[in-house]
């Protein structure tokens, strides 16, 4: 490679490095604002502002969902297994909402620490499974979560039902 080309290559690489450093610093400075939501731990630790709209993300605690019989009002608890935040929501929940599901709640914290939700979004994970496989697991007394954990450790493969 001759000297001119070498110099041009250095300029080009320098440009990319400079932009990368700038962007990294910007993202580092804005890191809290880029997070889509606060975790229950952060909310209980009073890192989240009260009286202003925030997002909270976590898992719907098993056995905590309480549907009002006469209206659409639902109350449940969001947890990250370190802290718990009670949520009250009046509206239509997404299809994937269930106990044990990851969700993001948009709402305001009231004085008692309850999150008054205006919108509930369901998060889903990157694991997909045919219904037949889930049924087979169910028969064997395994939940999809237990099964995934075992599979991640390399102990299990998918049951026969998934063969096309």
């Amino acid at each position: 490679m001759n000297a001119v080309r070498k110099r041009r290559l250095m300029i080009v690489l320098g440009l990319v490095a400079l932009v990368a450093v700038t962007v990294t610093l910007m993202l580092f400075a804005l890191r809290q604002n880029i997070n889509l939501f606060y975790s229950p731990e952060q909310i209980v630790g009073q890192e989240a502002p009260t009286g202003r709209q925030i997002r909270a993300g976590g898992i719907v605690e098993k056995g905590s969902v309480d549907r009002n019989q006469d209206s659409l009002v639902v109350t449940f608890t969001v947890t990250d297994f370190k802290a718990r935040v009670p949520v009250r929501f009046d509206g239509i929940l997404p299809d994937l909402f269930r106990e044990g599901q990851g969700i993001v709640v948009i709402g305001t914290l009231d004085a008692s620490g309850t999150l008054d939700a205006s919108q509930v979004l369901a998060k889903h994970d990157e694991n997909y499974m045919p219904k037949e496989v889930a049924d087979v697991l169910d028969k064997e007394g395994l939940s999809p979560e237990d099964y995934r954990a075992a599979r991640a450790e390399g102990k299990l493969s998918y049951p026969e039902a998934d063969r096309p």
Partner: protein, 250 residues
């Protein structure tokens, strides 16, 4: 080795050796994409939680991968063009940009359609969705910048610099779901671990991804060949080529 590279970089040589390649890539894409689409959309099992809306993955993931790969290709071409002044690299970068922009749009659109039933919203300003939107605007910027110059060479250089600035966005897109809390889930596919779904689900997805890459290759190669003819239309070999073709037809 440098000689070999320089030979490949000559538009004339490239045009001649790529004559056979384009039809093969088109054929591969035309087989893989319909087979993968039919398999994924009609025969693959539905997901136990998301049911049939899960099938959007067969469009969403290939288009998102292509959106990023196409930008990576443009960035490599930008370095080659800026440092070694190889015109062929500029041609490839030019013809790849509209394809990448369409793939980014397809990924954003299919993601929005998927988001309505599963998340309960078609758009959130989370890191993955926002960085993907920035990628779309980068594509628009690169395409517009190229045509903002009267001289083709200056336009190519400006577009190359912008592609290099924009390439910083690629790792941000890829790792956005790991660095920050996002509504978007993490990747289902990776080179290092087993796919997070059974064979009956990932085989059609793999076919769609390979088909999408074949389509990408076919589109870029065919358009590169056209662009070579357009740019070199005064060259003797192009005139000879056209006279030959006309003679054969008469």
């Amino acid at each position: 080795m440098w000689q070999w590279i320089h030979k490949w970089a000559s538009p004339k040589h490239f045009y001649r050796v790529s004559t056979r390649g384009a039809p093969w890539l088109w054929g591969l894409a035309l087989i893989l994409l319909p087979v993968g689409a039919l398999w994924g959309l009609a025969f693959a099992p539905a997901d136990y939680q998301q049911h049939d809306s899960f099938r959007i993955i067969y469009v969403h993931v290939p288009s998102a991968m292509l959106a990023e790969s196409c930008f990576a290709l443009m960035a490599v071409c930008a370095v080659v063009f800026l440092v070694w002044k190889i015109k062929l690299a500029d041609i490839v970068a030019k013809v790849a940009a509209p394809f990448g922009a369409s793939m980014t749009f397809a990924a954003l659109f299919s993601g929005a359609v998927w988001g309505i039933p599963t998340w309960g919203t078609w758009w959130v300003w989370d890191a993955r969705l926002t960085s993907m939107l920035i990628l779309l605007f980068l594509y628009f910027g690169i395409i517009a910048l190229r045509y903002a110059f009267a001289r083709e060479h200056s336009g190519g250089r400006a577009a190359a610099v912008l592609s290099l600035v924009g390439v910083v966005n690629l790792p941000i897109i890829k790792y956005s779901v790991e660095w920050w809390n996002t509504l978007h889930q993490t990747a289902s596919f990776s080179l290092t671990k087993a796919p997070s779904m059974p064979e009956s689900m990932w085989v059609p997805l793999l076919l769609m991804m390979l088909g999408a890459y074949a389509l990408f290759g076919a589109v870029v190669l065919s358009r590169t060949r056209n662009e070579i003819l357009r740019r070199e239309h005064r060259a003797r070999w192009v005139r000879a080529l056209i006279t030959d073709t006309c003679d054969k037809e008469h």
